[in-house]
Symmetry: C2
Subunit: 188 residues, 2 copies
């Protein structure tokens, strides 16, 4: 997606060869028009999949999630990283973040995911893929179907994309980073 | 806002006389069309204010924030509750949550807020108002102007609304809860 790649080149900051900072438009300050375009692009790429629900993870997945839900005209559910005191019946999974070097739990109320659902998972970044695999486990536990995964920025030099594609999951990444050596961003 | 009030009456769950659960459309599962309507309503209510930026707090403010930004065609910034490892120069404030009985810090990168900004603050709930006052402090520190506060659901039986209006801040709440006695929701 050219618009997103241009934004990454113009505003992204390469912190080191594996870390890209895009907080001027994707995960701290947000560009609403770009987010809506990404949502429409996911709608196009997953055409005909009869999606009933968009699933993502707080916090930085929410903006792209809600715009995808708007484009598809379906509800959006975001997994929480802390169990709210008012949430009783829930699905949960443990996710290891290689970036932050921590384990965290994600949870979703059983009210909002069931066997009737065809779920599109979206997120801002794909690195090692653990958050996506955590959501896949929850979708399986709910008896729902995961029809695909939509990612804004995939780190092509990390393993997540390969792991997910090897499972025959339909993965669409709007920008795939190839290398970021010498502060130069190259896409796949 | 009638659409929102109807949703609250039909789908909201009164947990006790001061706690309303609206996680089927506002803060766990999200209704994108409703969120967009709320964004457009804030645009109307703050007409002529020359807003340059929408400010909110992760996680449940993000959806309403991005839709308000889309309606106003301005960027959205969400305050983070944990300082990211890649964020150096930041504004921060401490917020006491009466609901969760904890203190937490919110922070915003100095890159994304400055003296040129006219800021509309939005959030899903207003109870005691501490999160809004934390954001007000950050806006002051940045030398920016807070032109108003847009809230989805104000708890009219708690003090936040009065505190903010007494400061002559332009506050617009789309639904104001009066009482929730005997499981019956009444609006002001």
């Amino acid at each position: 997606m050219k618009f997103l790649k241009n934004k990454i080149v113009n505003e992204g900051k390469v912190i080191n060869p594996t870390t890209l900072k895009v907080d001027s438009f994707l995960n701290h300050q947000l560009d609403p028009a770009l987010m809506l375009e990404m949502g429409k692009e996911f709608k196009k790429r997953f055409e005909g999949k009869k999606i009933t629900k968009v699933l993502t993870i707080e916090a930085s997945g929410i903006a792209i999630g809600i715009m995808t839900g708007l484009a598809l005209d379906v509800p959006v559910v975001f997994a929480k990283k802390k169990k709210p005191s008012t949430m009783a019946n829930l699905y949960s999974a443990t996710v290891h973040s290689f970036t932050k070097k921590i384990d965290y739990d994600i949870c979703i109320s059983k009210e909002f995911l069931g066997p009737e659902d065809k779920v599109l998972v979206v997120d801002d970044f794909l690195a090692m893929g653990n958050a996506i695999l955590g959501l896949e486990n929850i979708i399986k536990e709910a008896g729902a179907e995961m029809v695909g995964v939509g990612i804004a920025v995939e780190k092509g030099f990390q393993n997540g994309g390969k792991i997910i594609r090897d499972k025959n999951i339909h993965l669409e990444s709007l920008a795939i980073l190839d290398t970021m050596e010498d502060n130069k961003i190259k896409f796949l």
